[in-house]
Symmetry: D2
Subunit: 353 residues, 4 copies
């Protein structure tokens, strides 16, 4: 990453004086420490193309993603955007059209797809190593909202629980969408329909902090996705299990280097990164000798590397990154969950990709 | 157990010659190796009460449980019965009435409640150590049906997949009911409503081999229960997680001696059997020094010990065993799951206990 | 086991009144509840051979093992004896001669060799699945002596720390000998030489409570064995790792169903009991479906079953149990450790088997 | 790290044309891509102090460490040096004197001390949370040399197995020294004496590829350290366990976020990074929310950050890094191991720090 990226400037704070102090600490050019996104676009666009920021990351509260990303893309900037990329599907589709029109590189921060063993999992399923998928299970359990959820004052301090800033969903939009992305990323399947039950826990709380979702995939496979921010004292317990006709693959984010490969009639096999026997995508995502744990930052680095290669026109399957399509899918998922919960827990379709 | 139980006789096989050979191998009295349940009841009843079989275990295919248990109870025998105890709720309730009338000891083979750390979990929740329960997650994943499910000939060889022998449900009735029992046993909560989606996988297969169930408890708590027999190459992956206001407890059958206790603002704590700091029920269920794994047979032994004490009139909280009520609850669960799935995945009530 | 064993009588307590109360609780014949080992031998020998106790278990403090076992064997009884079987090698060899002369079945309580995955490990090494052994590592860490070791009064309450009752060694004799037995059992190799450092921790403590032992095997392979009873708060952390030219096998008693099979150039493989792909010895030692944990009691049960079959003359490789040879080896090991420590940590030979 | 470090130049290859191609790929100044260390020192020294390289990393085969580090330090450069920092203790002491004289910042690449949970371990022991240390166990098992060790041709391709390039030790110097450093780092104890047995495995191989070391600490505590590069198919299995009077701490590099805290009379506690309850040093070493794994690169980054702060004169306990003292200790350890093995496995002193 060090070779691919250097931090040049940005909009670091709503309070410009603070932003300048931050830039000073990092020895950044104060002239490229902008007041707002409009100023950034204006200032950078005035530079020669080779001197401009090559990639701009949007990592604000959810309600700002769309407006900022739209302006940046419209002005021809490559963008890495936090998820959920917008607060509605309609906005997400608008972004998708604009990206198509402006021909910029756009990535969604689905960090987990940067883990070597997640890429290994996808490659093994695609290669038919577990047979046709017949059941999918994913869960993302956190507990961090638990200490604030019952105290309205504390709750107001959390932007994710404020519909004006976080959008229509808290738990599903923030972490459910990661589990959803991981399912479609690893299996290559498309969720066609879902049925959801969500929980606000407290009557005075407006947004979901827990949800259980039944899934149906194109082709008839069934699955389940559970997400929670009130799973008390859980850290970032994201897990996925995909069962095929002849084998299964299981991965857990809290121990991300051990991909479990279950096979009918054989012992359990534990696949780890850094080995010659791994799939190409996993080998290229792995930068360390076997046995050295690769962390979350490395996963994000893999995403960033893919973007850098795309910016340079070197795009390559083995350096994949989540694109606008995944962002749109995520919003479709969130809206379908909310619709199912709102409509008495009925099945809701998700449009095909 | 050795002190509590001795195998005296029984109905060991439909083929009486084989049953006699079996009895001979075990040096059992051929005179107490009966042709059928009616002969057993007649033969044993002819003996003086102190010489009769004290407890009869019913461990046949599901469709025979009710008829056998009914006759035994009616004749005054204490019974340990496999689950699901009947094939319908109506039959289960009939048994309940008969047990009440005949005043016999009746236990359901919910083996998992015999594990020391499951008993510890229940005691800790009851003592308020995790606060009021706010979310429940249970799953029971097996893969053993996977190799037979797609071949109709092989499938016919499995009585659990034959409605005439297994009853109306395969996966939910066989293992979903264990997860359900574990939820109500550990939390003390009552499931009031559920919504289910089940999967037969193959059009020619009549019974569920996978199911995902959304749960609502009396008082408003929500939960999820997942069961599968097509989770390829899984062995007996039964897990339960209960999240309370201030902490959580997680247990997994495949590593049954490590009860995880998550607490807000504190490190994860791993409770193991055999320690003085454990709850009474766990201490009494544990017969080994710390660090020696206690197995499935020991769990079943704990259930049997409770039954033996009840037979002797020494019943005691710390030597609990699953009774008819749990059997009825199990059948209510199975029927509600089937009804929800049949009725377009709608919520179905479960009657209060 | 239930079919193989019934408890008939014994010497249950030095205080005969207490022994009789114990027998009464278990509904045992008071006439076969003996005052001492001499009375037992006399009483049982007076019965017809087919009515006599078939097997007598010696599970007393160490200093009594030899005297009791010697008398029982001399009188023709089959014996299961706790380890260390004697307090000196000389006594152990004397027992060996007597067993040979009287042609009785004799087993040492090396329980750990009854675990299915330990038997699997031995069979896999013998089958050449990891190539020629090139390194061995074993450890047995407990912490139970830690709370008593510094208080002389508490210490006196523990017979293992009293040379008059426990013999010349505490830690090495009690648990080091298990690790040693496991090494020779699984590898089939013979330790030819060792160098040891032991720790009494407190000047006023006479016996070792910790020891580290360097090993050399016939053929030149090297290894290490660590044992401790002051590994604070450890439960029964017994582990063994055997590295061969092409692979390795690792087993841990606290999670005894997961045998790790490391292979050069392949993913880690986890072997579990109950599968058709396992070795015969493991399959015959395993009585449960895959995924159900098998415990310590089951391990002991496997040893007992082997003894029962030997008593019946049905001895068979797959129902192995530790014999006098293992008992002698254990004593040779203990004496060599003490000699090396006494002699300035020099290498000491262990006689070949 | 991004803010602290930028790669400016260096000596990248013995073949200067290759070094220039490498620099070009990274868009580095070819004028600062030097032919050798002398050219680097000359070129950088010609620049104004504020424009010079602030830190130079020495990451060559072992035999070059001393010569390069000596010249750099003598010329006033801050240095981060791979371990073992020299091939003899004498050279290491020479470096120490020079560092003292030139007042430069010098760090040894003991990466493992950068892990948040290793720093937490040290802080907890220092705070008395496990009581006085009474036993220490460390091991570092790798298998990477196994496939080359028996083939002399392959062996020659590995510089670590060539005494001319790797120095007097392979296994102990490369990884044993890490385990040794971790012991002294976490416990604060000083090893005063050791007794070692090493293994070259093949007669034609000159350097140790495996070693077991008995340890004695100032104050009488005993311990054991095992290192191997022929532990077939092990990846980077580095573990340390420290047992105190009232508790113990256990850490394993392959799952570095889970520090096990054993306490007498209490359940096992698992400490993870990112929590407010952690010690300051761990909190400052941790850059991620709880549950996101921190990897090896992050550990190294923590070391680098400490160096950057020292260079800026901001040195602070919580941003510690391994210094020359640790480098000297490492060499003392390696020499003592070799001496003990050479001298018939006798105890050898290690000079006090």
């Amino acid at each position: 990453m060090g070779d691919d990226y250097a931090l040049i400037g940005g909009v670091f704070n709503q309070d410009h004086a603070r932003a300048l102090r931050f830039a000073d600490q990092l020895a950044l050019d104060p002239g490229r420490t902008y007041r707002d996104i409009e100023a950034l676009i204006k200032g950078e666009s005035a530079l020669a193309p080779e001197d401009r920021m090559q990639v701009v990351t949007v990592a604000t509260p959810n309600f700002l993603h769309f407006a900022m990303a739209e302006k940046l893309i419209d002005a021809g900037f490559n963008v890495i955007c936090e998820k959920p990329i917008t607060t509605t599907v309609a906005e997400a589709l608008e972004l998708a059209q604009l990206i198509e029109a402006r021909r910029v590189v756009f990535a969604v921060a689905h960090t987990y797809t940067g883990y070597p063993m997640v890429r290994q999992m996808r490659a093994m399923i695609a290669a038919g190593l577990i047979g046709a998928v017949q059941k999918v299970h994913a869960q993302y359990y956190q507990g961090w909202i638990n200490p604030v959820i019952r105290d309205p004052a504390l709750r107001r301090s959390v932007w994710r629980l404020n519909p004006a800033m976080g959008g229509h969903s808290c738990c599903i939009g923030d972490i459910g969408v990661h589990a959803f992305n991981l399912i479609e990323y690893t299996t290559g399947l498309t969720v066609s329909e879902l049925l959801a039950d969500i929980d606000m826990l407290e009557p005075s709380n407006a947004l979901d902090v827990d949800g259980n979702v039944l899934l149906r995939f194109t082709g008839g496979v069934k699955g389940v996705l559970c997400a929670s921010q009130i799973a008390t004292a859980e850290e970032n317990n994201l897990q996925i299990a995909v069962y095929g006709r002849t084998g299964a693959l299981k991965w857990s984010q809290e121990n991300p280097n051990r991909l479990q490969h279950l096979q009918e009639g054989k012992p359990l096999s534990i696949v780890t990164p850094g080995h010659a026997f791994n799939e190409l995508v996993a080998r290229q995502a792995s930068k360390l000798p076997p046995g050295h744990p690769e962390g979350f930052i490395d996963a994000m680095g893999n995403i960033y590397r893919g973007v850098a290669m795309a910016v340079r026109g070197q795009a390559h399957d083995a350096h994949d990154f989540p694109r606008i399509e995944e962002g749109v899918r995520g919003m479709q998922f969130v809206e379908a969950v909310l619709a199912s919960a709102r409509d008495g827990n009925r099945w809701k379709p998700i449009q095909d990709r």
